[in-house]
Amino acid sequence: MGNRGHAVSVSFVQRDNGLQMLKYLLKRLSLLIPTLIGVATLVFAMVALSPGDPARVMLGERATKAQLEKIRAEMGLDRPLIEQYGIYMKNMVQLDFGESIKTGRKVMDEIKELYPATIELAFFAMLFATIVGIIIGVLSATRRNTWIDYTSMVGALVGVSLPVFWLALVLIMIFSVGFDLLPTGGRINIRYYFEPMTNFYVIDSIIYLFREGDPKFLTSVLRHIILPAIALGTIPLAIIARVTRSSMLEVLKQDYIKTARSAGILENRVVYRYALKNALLPVITIIGIQFGLLLSGAILTETIFAWPGIGKWLYKAIEARDYPAVQGGVMVIATTFVLINLVVDILYSLVNPKIRLQ
């Protein structure tokens, strides 16, 4: 009974339009390519326009003119800009970002190694934010205008107003320095001999646990991820709590909830079975968008917690003017962001047919 609204929209989808859905999908996908080309162009312009000379960065201040010329020729920097752009785009399509000026390794290889660390951190941050955020949101909606509601909403507002990097330092100050409970940084106790396989340390350490029966890796990995995940997850937590609350209040006003209540269904069942399910729709969108944003928010968090992910790596690359690395890092993060948003949009249009008709 509580699902009537939902059922109507489902039948609408089935009846009306596989075709319309397909059209929408094609439209979204066709926008993806020009956007990515634009992103790649902007990233190219970023390096072409920025002050400083990559050849100089590579060779240092004492390089002679002849050496500089030679390396420029090798890197193709002596060619006209348009030709450089052509070569760059050709490489981009093949996911070839060139070699890092600093380490001499393939940028793509470095990214492949580091990205799992960032994704793992973002995943746990989002897990924390989603669980706590939804609980707080539901509690303040069902106990509207009580002190629980007021405290949570003031807390949520504080959460979006916090400088995250400062919160990270305060967390370290309290939990690592003050109470000596959790490590200040890194992914695992560096004294452990740990050979990562997937580079997702949680998965790796679980494999170790099953293979060798020793939980010390898993404990260490989890202890290391707590503080950075909390720091990184605070903003999404606050946003999820606010969205859950307002969405929940909206749903609780609707007729089918009133009907359910008047039919004598227990309040808890009404809230958690019937209302929450529909109220979570907008929350899912927010979770997707926030996950994309976390990947760039990780630049700050990773720098502070010495987390060997793509954010800290990108920051170092910007500092060192390691252009191929900067291009690769920015390109990968932006592409991930675009893809996540695309998936979120498509998912949302699947559950909400109105979007497609626009």
């Binding site: 990515l36 634009g38 107003s161 916090l162 400088p163 100050m173 760039s296």
Partner: protein, 311 residues
């Protein structure tokens, strides 16, 4: 818009019904205007008032910084290094170089307020201009603008500011420009959508028919009608700009030492988390309160100005 017009018509009819007998006057109380009604609602919105008070406080402190700060924010007193709070003459203590924390925070307020206003100013100026023109004329210009906006939105906000600063070079001015540019898309979208909704409205057609120029229509008639959502966006944008500039400075991409910028102060405090908590804590609290003020006021404004939320 339509309902408002209907209301006016009905009011006219009502007044016509109640036309006073000739020779007598009747006091018909004026309906409160949207603006008056908003002020009334504002007074009842505790969060908005609290936000406004906080903003006013930080603005005042920022403007009068040289008069209210007890010390020169750059003056180093070597023998007073790392004094804890409540040391005589140094209410909030001193930093690692013996500079007064309170004075640095006060001048930091000035810098952050300037950053907020300038960044949002840049974003609004270009955002409104591009948005209005793009929505009004449509066509190829609109298409190109929307493509560029899509590309900008393909970057997560923080990353976009970092990328722009990386192009321009690290400085406080460039940080403001980068934040300003990164915030342009939201105004373009907002204004463009409003313009599309308004440009065929009766009042625009009427004004065009009596010879109003495109310029007058765009900036004199249509734009003022989208000011409500823009002001909400701008208020929230100032808070966001303060946070972003602190983040950029923290990464060494914004303000440079010895500028008393809050983010930079937090960055240089990192090595003292074991020894001097006040150097770490206070700049963060200052940032938090300033941003909170703008967020509170912005949220309040949204509740007040959004007619849908009005009872």
């Amino acid at each position: 818009m339509k309902t408002e017009n209907n209301d006016k018509d009905m009011n006219l009819e009502r007044t016509a019904d109640r036309m006073p007998p000739v020779g007598k006057t009747l006091d018909v109380p004026d309906e409160p205007t949207f603006f008056q009604e908003s002020i009334h609602q504002l007074k009842r919105n505790k969060g908005a008032i609290a936000g406004l008070v906080v903003i006013a406080l930080f603005l005042a402190v920022g403007i009068f910084a040289p008069y209210v700060s007890p010390h020169d924010p750059l003056e180093q007193v070597i023998e007073m290094r790392k004094s804890p709070p409540f040391t005589e003459g140094y209410l909030l203590g001193t930093d690692d170089l013996g500079r007064d924390m309170l004075s640095r925070l006060i001048f930091g307020a000035r810098i952050s307020m300037i950053i907020g206003v300038v960044s949002v100013g840049i974003a609004m100026f270009f955002g409104l201009l591009i948005g209005v023109v793009s929505g009004y004329y449509g066509g190829w210009f609109d298409k190109i603008v929307m493509r560029i906006i899509d590309i900008m939105l393909a970057f997560p906000y923080v990353l976009l500011t970092i990328v722009i600063v990386a192009i321009l070079g690290a400085s406080l001015t460039n940080a403001m420009i980068a934040i300003g540019i990164s915030q342009i898309p939201r105004y373009v979208r907002l204004v463009r959508a409003s313009v599309l909704a308004e440009k065929e409205a009766d009042y625009v057609i009427a004004e065009r028919s009596i010879g109003a120029s495109n310029f007058e229509l765009m900036f004199g008639s249509i734009l003022p009608n989208c000011l409500a959502p823009i002001s909400v966006q701008a208020t929230l944008g100032v808070g966001e700009a303060i946070l972003s500039s602190a983040a950029l400075s923290f990464l060494g991409l914004g303000a440079q030492p010895p500028t008393p910028e809050w983010g930079l102060m937090i960055a240089s405090s990192r090595e003292f988390i074991t020894s001097a908590w006040w150097i770490v804590t206070f700049p963060g609290i200052a940032t938090l309160f300033a941003v909170l003020g703008f967020n509170l006021f912005g949220d309040g404004l949204r509740d007040i100005l959004d007619p849908k939320l009005r009872d």
